[in-house]
Each structure stands twice: as structure tokens, then as C-alpha cells.
């Protein structure tokens, strides 16, 4: 069994978690081009090596960030997203 440490719930079976994709900064939807927005949605770094990615503990809906080696599957560190993101994103409709 592969274990992952949830910053909120402690060590759990990795099957309790949902992978949520690479940590990438979101471009400003109101200002960026369609190209940039598509790249943000679909294009991946898909790095072989150490990466930062979003994970969620499903039962508690708690999102956090993990540093993981995608070659060895070693989970190096998990931490609350507040270490990287201090502000809530304000979603306002873009002016057409």
C-alpha cells in the first residue's frame, strides 16, 4: 500500500486521494489571450523528475500541494496550499 501524508488528516492510503494536476499559475482570464488560456487548460509540463502537484483528500474535500518524484513515485513533501497561495482568486466575468 502506498501512503501519502495529508497535511490535515495525516498518513493515509493513497487511494483516498485524488490527483488534481500540476501546480501552475493561472493566467488572468480577463487579460490573457485565448491561446494562453487553452495552454493553461490543456498543455502539460509532464516532467520526469520532481514536480509540484495538487492533491485532494476525497473524504474531507481538502486540497493541498505535494512535491513528488514522477520517476520513483517518492512523495517528498506535502503542505497546505497557503504556503504558495495567500489570496483567494476573484473570478469576475471578462468584459466582452
Amino acid at each position: 500500500m502506498k501512503l501519502m501524508t495529508c497535511p490535515l488528516n495525516g498518513e493515509r492510503n493513497i487511494s483516498e486521494f485524488v490527483y488534481g494536476g500540476e501546480v501552475v499559475d493561472m493566467p488572468n482570464p480577463a487579460a490573457c489571450s485565448d491561446q494562453e488560456w487553452s495552454a493553461y487548460l490543456f498543455i502539460e509540463e509532464n516532467t520526469k523528475g520532481i514536480v509540484k502537484e495538487w492533491w485532494m483528500h476525497a473524504a474531507s474535500s481538502y486540497w493541498f500541494i505535494a512535491e513528488r518524484n514522477t520517476e520513483t513515485n517518492e512523495i517528498i513533501r506535502t503542505f497546505p496550499s497557503s504556503e504558495l497561495y495567500m489570496q483567494r482568486v476573484d473570478f469576475r466575468a471578462a468584459k466582452e
Binding site: 487511494s15 509532464n46 520526469k48 514522477t70
Partner: protein, 413 residues
Amino acid sequence: MPLSLLKYGLTKQPKLQRHFPPTPELKNSYDVVIVGGGGHGLAAAYYLAKNWGITNVAVLEKSYLAGGNTARNTTIVRSNYLTPEGVQFYDESVKLFQNLSNELDYNILYSERGHLTLAHTDAAVRTARWRAEVNKHLGVDSELIYPDEIARLCPQLNLGDDVRYPILGALYHPPGALARHDGVAWGYARRAAEYGVEIHTQTEVTGFDIEKGKVVGVKTNRGNIQCGKVLQAVAGMSSEVARMADFKLPIKTIPLQACVSEAVKPFLDPIIVSGSLHVYVSQSSRGELVMGASAEAYPLYSTRSTLEFKEELMMHLLEMFPFVGKLRVLRQWAGMTDMTPDFSPVMGLTPIENYYIDAGWGTWGFKATPVCGKRMAETIATGKIPDLIKPFELERFYRNEQVGERGAASVGH
């Protein structure tokens, strides 16, 4: 002992024929360099030579030939997809497959079994119906069938309602088939080599020379070469190789596992897939049950095998075929698949001039080996993208024109 046997034993053995020549020295320059010696790269090499007379071609493979996903897949060939683009594309491949042993004069053990995608919920019945209608409209043999007909095609299947997910119906695709995966790669390699294509194993591509947005050379662990054009066909390594040429792809590298049982007498004719139970099974020509599931839950550049995979798989398989509980698992393995968000491939041009891509084959690319080889060869030779593969270009992600095949490709590979 019969005398003839004794005589045979004492005479000199006939000289064994090599399948393809040993790796030659690298030349300074090739018209086309193909990165990746899996089925896709080798098929493209064959069609470049045969259909377009382009023979100054090198296939560069970092390991032994066709030891990647080509060697690891569960060899299901079918065209019962969901989108018109997908159905037409895979249908051409099925037709090429049906004649491939003849074309290559090489037995690929093509075996038409019929393919059943079981539906255990109303939603799955609806998807099956949808696929059947799209298929029939495009001339592909598919229909929605119900338990009486399923029992006729596969009497071993547990059709009772004493299980968690009783079977309500199935999408039946008579042309669904299996083939010898290695045979496909070796057959293409052998015939390509006869045309003069060079096959270089143990030759890893480590970078590219790009001048003013155009690829002009390839760097390898055996030295640098110049090239006219490059075709990248490296499956799970797609993102890493593309990074060497400085562009990105909508691909995640995710392991897919499979296993086989010990060999038993033939009893299972059709290929059985259950999307709801996340499991599929067929019986190989030498009697093993070949079993698999959907790709794993998160990216990993590794081909390790896990106990969790087997546990999940067996739990569901036992609902369908309770008696397989008596069988032992013989081998288990994994491949690194190049998964796209819409479960369709990425074929065609890249931001780099003269650099072509054949990627995003995820868990479904073995069946596309012939059509992709043929159409990528056409693209490279003519510089024009054939209509058949146009919908699959990388640019579709920037136009929001995905070719959504999840409903037809996430478990049934």
C-alpha cells in the same frame, strides 16, 4: 530412432536467417529520422519506403526494438469508437490489419473474435446505443444486444442478477480482433529494412539542432546526425522528447498495467470489456487469459507492477467469470502511456518546421499502428495533412476542438 532424424541431427544446421540486419554505423545524414522504434515508428518507416520511395531513413530506438508499449499492450483491434472522426480513422486501420499478414508476408496471427462492451447501467446502455448508431452510419459493424444474445456469444459469462452490477446489454462489434503485437513490429521492421531503411537500436536521441525554427539535426548517444525531417513516435516519453525540441504537448505519462493467467484450453472466444467494472479480458491464441483495466490515477514514469491493480481487477473479473478464481496469474507488467485529455491522439505538424509528431496514443494506439504509419508517411512525404488525420492535430487544443473519445476508450483499449 528413424534414420532420417539421426541424419538431420548430424548434418550441419541450416543457417538461421536474421529478421533484420544488425545496427549499422550511423551515417552523417538522413532524409528522415524517426525517433522511437516501436510499432508506430517502424510502420511509418515501411510506408515511407514502400508508398513514397523514401528509403534514406533511420529509425532510432534507445533500447531493443519494439520493447515499449508495443510489447506491453493487450492487442485489441477495433473501430467501434464514438466520434465520426475516430470511427473513420480506426476503421481504416482495421482494414489494413485484416490484410497485414499478406501485405508483409509475415504472420501477425490476426484473429477476429468479436468485441463485447458490457453495459451494467442505463447510462452505459445509452452510450452503447449511441456508439452503435454512429458506427452503423459510417459502415462499421456494431449493434446493441441484450442478455439473450450475449449468452449465445459468450455462455461462460455470469448473466445472473446476483451480482452488484448485473449485465443489461452490450455493444457488439464483430470485427473486433487480436494480433501478435511483436509480429506487427517485426514484420514492418523486416520489410522496411529490405527497402534499405536503417534500424538503429541502443541509440538514444538526446537533443535536436534547431535553426530558425527548423529542425536540421539530431543528437544521439552515438553521435550527431543531420536530417531533412524528423518524426517523433516515443509514446510515454513524448513530453520529454518534445521538450528537447522546445515545445509542449497536452499529454500526461500514466502507467497502464496488465497481466496474464496460466494457459488453459480455449474457452473464451470474444473479447469482453466492462467499462463499469473497469476490467477487460480475452484469451490469447496460446490459452492465457489476458487481463487489464483502465490507466492509473496519476502520472508516473515507471513500469512497476502493483498488488492493488491485481486486487481490483480480480474482484471485478470474478463477478463476470466466477470460475477464473481457480486460475493463477503468470505474469504482470506495465507500460507508460501518453494520455491526452480527450482520449484521442496527436498527429501531424508541430511548432518546429519539418518536425512531425505521432503521440497521445495512451492506452489505444496499437490498433492504429498501420493507419498511423501510413498516414504519417504520407504527411512527411507530401507535406500535406491527409483529411483523415486532420482532426487530430495538436492545434485542436487551441481551438477547443477536441475529439472526445473517453466514452469509447477509457477502459476498452
